[in-house]
């Protein structure tokens, strides 16, 4: 289907720009970056110059005004690099910047946003802690007001782009227990007491760095407090909405890439004197993959359109993420299956897709947490 109600000629043109950019700036080097478990920092500036990092942000902060489907089209094209980790790393700003944009003062926005949209600075989001992942309301990193500063102590983990982020939009505890004591603080990595405690080695997302961060008497100016004190939790939850629909799109796009790769392979590979696609069971498997992807896509687009229309479809966003991630898990699994042993070999794209998509149903809120949210919204 063409989904002409969501995508017009401008989206198509932008896809072409993205494909070109990827073809010349990413594809030739990607295998090396995966092996090195990092992509070069220069890629941020290049992606900024080509108009991708700032997509969807206001012009006054160096962004490029766009609708939600431009962002989706861009995500879909970048996922076609076959490195979901690269997309997560290169675009970590899309989870780190929105809270600043939504709640920051004009001065904070001018200070923090333009350098990131220009690809000069790297931004990360720091919510998860060693003792609090799903249970965001129970984070333990403390920020205690002392004169004009907050003194921060604690740790964050699994922070995408955290190893080389210039700042982390961090959830910290400024008040009492529970969600009512949480604030958002921009912690700059140059601040004394800020330390990258380690780079986490992972099953997938190898092109992106994932950090453990430690704050030891880290003095952060109170001017870096985003929004009012103890009002951070709602901003975190609101931010999750964007992240979740974006991860849902990543899931359907990755699934589509896995499917197309498998489709091609089943034509080229023969067994028992015929292409493996000549087996009815193969065709049916491919059909099931295609059917699931189409449904996930259509639903994701629908939910995105409702967000664009100003609705706040919390349950549906969580449904979209769960559905697309489940589709993606199954499709990636089947794509490997259809490749036989080659699907397990590094040289074949589906091997990476399989590893790189597993995280989608964990990050940004697990499948189980999505279900808890849905159940709550459906008032069970």
């Amino acid at each position: 289907m063409r989904y002409g109600e969501y995508f017009n000629e401008t989206h198509e043109q932008m896809r072409r720009s993205a494909r070109k950019f990827i073809e010349s700036e990413i594809a030739p080097y990607l295998a090396d970056w995966e092996d090195a478990e990092l992509f070069p920092r220069e890629l941020y500036a290049k992606a900024a110059a080509a108009g991708f990092l700032g997509l969807g942000y206001p012009e006054e902060y160096g962004g490029l005004e766009a609708d939600i489907f431009h962002r989706i089209a861009m995500t879909e094209e970048f996922i076609r690099t076959g490195s979901i980790g690269l997309v997560a790393g290169l675009f970590s700003l899309n989870i780190a910047i929105p809270p600043i944009l939504a709640m920051g003062t004009p001065e904070q926005k001018r200070r923090f946003i333009p350098p990131v949209l220009a690809g000069e600075k790297i931004a990360a989001l720091g919510i998860t802690e060693p003792n609090a992942g799903s249970d965001v309301a129970n984070i333990e990193t403390r920020a205690v007001r002392d004169g004009g500063d907050y003194v921060v102590n604690g740790a964050k983990t699994f922070i995408t782009s955290g190893c080389r982020a210039d700042f982390v939009t961090a959830a910290v505890r400024t008040g009492g227990p529970g969600f009512e004591g949480i604030s958002l603080l921009v912690i700059e990595s140059g601040t004394p007491g800020f330390r990258v405690a380690g780079k986490i080695r992972k099953m997938g997302w190898n092109a992106s760095d994932t950090a453990e961060l430690v704050f030891e008497d880290c003095r952060v100016p109170a001017a870096n407090l985003i929004g009012a004190e103890n009002q951070g939790f709602m901003a975190v939850m609101q931010n999750f909405q964007d992240e979740r629909i974006s991860m849902a799109v990543m899931a359907h796009a990755a699934a589509e890439l896995a499917y197309e790769t498998a489709l091609k392979y089943t034509e080229e590979r023969s067994a028992f004197n015929r292409p493996i696609r000549a087996f009815q069971v193969t065709r049916h498997k491919l059909v099931d993959m295609a059917t699931k992807i189409e449904a996930a896509k259509a639903f994701n687009y629908k939910v995105a359109a409702s967000i664009a229309a100003g609705e706040y479809p919390v349950a549906e966003v969580s449904m979209a993420k769960n559905f697309a991630c489940e589709v993606c898990d199954k499709v990636a699994y089947d794509a490997v299956q259809l490749h036989g042993g080659y699907g397990y070999a590094r040289e074949y794209l589906v091997e990476r897709i399989y590893r790189d998509t597993r995280i989608l149903s964990l990050g940004g809120g697990t499948t189980e947490i999505m279900k808890e949210i849905i159940a709550k919204y459906l008032q069970y």
Partner: protein
């Protein structure tokens, strides 16, 4: 100054090609189309010139309505307007007729400088821009890797086997562009949006007042066929001199490659 850039919508060479049963046309239903890559460099060169010296860049194409897709890309890169020669008769032209039509289009714009890719990657004929130069009696340089404007004179480098030489051409001139000359920019979203509002004029062959004779084919297409993919291999044994001799013999006699 007005600069015309001749651009063509062509199948992406990474597409899977098939020939229609008539053996005279390529099946288009599964093809992806792009701007011919050399043309992108031509557009970039024109825009660079515009940014440096100020100019009006008009992209000119001949083809069906869908040719507007690549024209929009050029407009999003920074060209100012488009002129599409389209409608009855345009689909059956050979290089000769296309050149007649484009020459008339360029003339109607009053361009002093014409850029084009050194060839279009679909039929690789390398004819149209050269013919346009002839028809308009403009100076011409092909396969250009460096371009400068020095008053009313274009100073260009042309690639030749094993080297390059520098030419000076009086304007008006037609210049065909080789890849190494620049890096085409990626259209960014704001420019894509702006491009939507830039005008693309349309003209038919009749509007351009072209005679049947001018449009008559210069050549007749007999048939199309896909390149034969016939993989053979030879394994050559023996010591090195013997292997070399045998390799030369194989290449000469059996594979007829030398």
């Amino acid at each position: 100054m007005k600069i015309a850039v001749l651009i063509k919508r062509v199948p992406d060479t990474a597409s899977v090609f098939a020939i229609n049963p008539d053996q005279k046309s390529v099946a288009t239903d599964k093809l992806k189309f792009v701007m011919s890559p050399y043309d992108e460099h031509a557009v970039e060169e024109a825009i660079k010139l515009k940014e440096a010296n100020g100019a009006d860049v008009v992209v000119v194409s001949l083809g069906p309505d869908s040719a507007k897709e690549v024209m929009r890309t050029a407009l999003a890169m920074g060209a100012d307007e488009g002129l599409l020669v389209t409608g009855a008769g345009t689909d059956s032209l050979t290089s000769k007729g296309v050149a007649e039509a484009l020459a008339a289009a360029v003339k109607s714009i009053g361009a002093e400088l014409v850029f084009a890719g050194k060839q279009a990657v679909d039929d690789d004929a390398s004819q149209v821009a050269e013919r346009v130069a002839e028809l308009l009696e403009m100076a011409h340089a092909s396969v250009v890797t460096k371009f400068e404007l020095n008053g009313g004179t274009a100073v260009v480098n042309r690639e030749i086997e094993g080297g390059s030489y520098t030419l000076e051409l009086p304007l008006p001139a037609v210049i065909t562009i080789e890849k190494g000359i620049n890096t085409p920019r990626y259209p960014t979203l704001p420019n894509i949006m702006k491009a939507k509002k830039k005008p693309i004029a349309e003209k038919s062959l009749a509007d351009l007042g072209l005679s049947a004779e001018a449009l008559a084919p210069g050549v007749v297409l007999e048939s199309l066929s896909l390149p034969r993919q016939n993989r053979r291999n030879h394994i050559i044994d023996g010591d090195t001199p013997a292997r070399v001799n045998e390799l030369i013999r194989l290449l000469k006699e059996e594979e007829k490659a030398l």
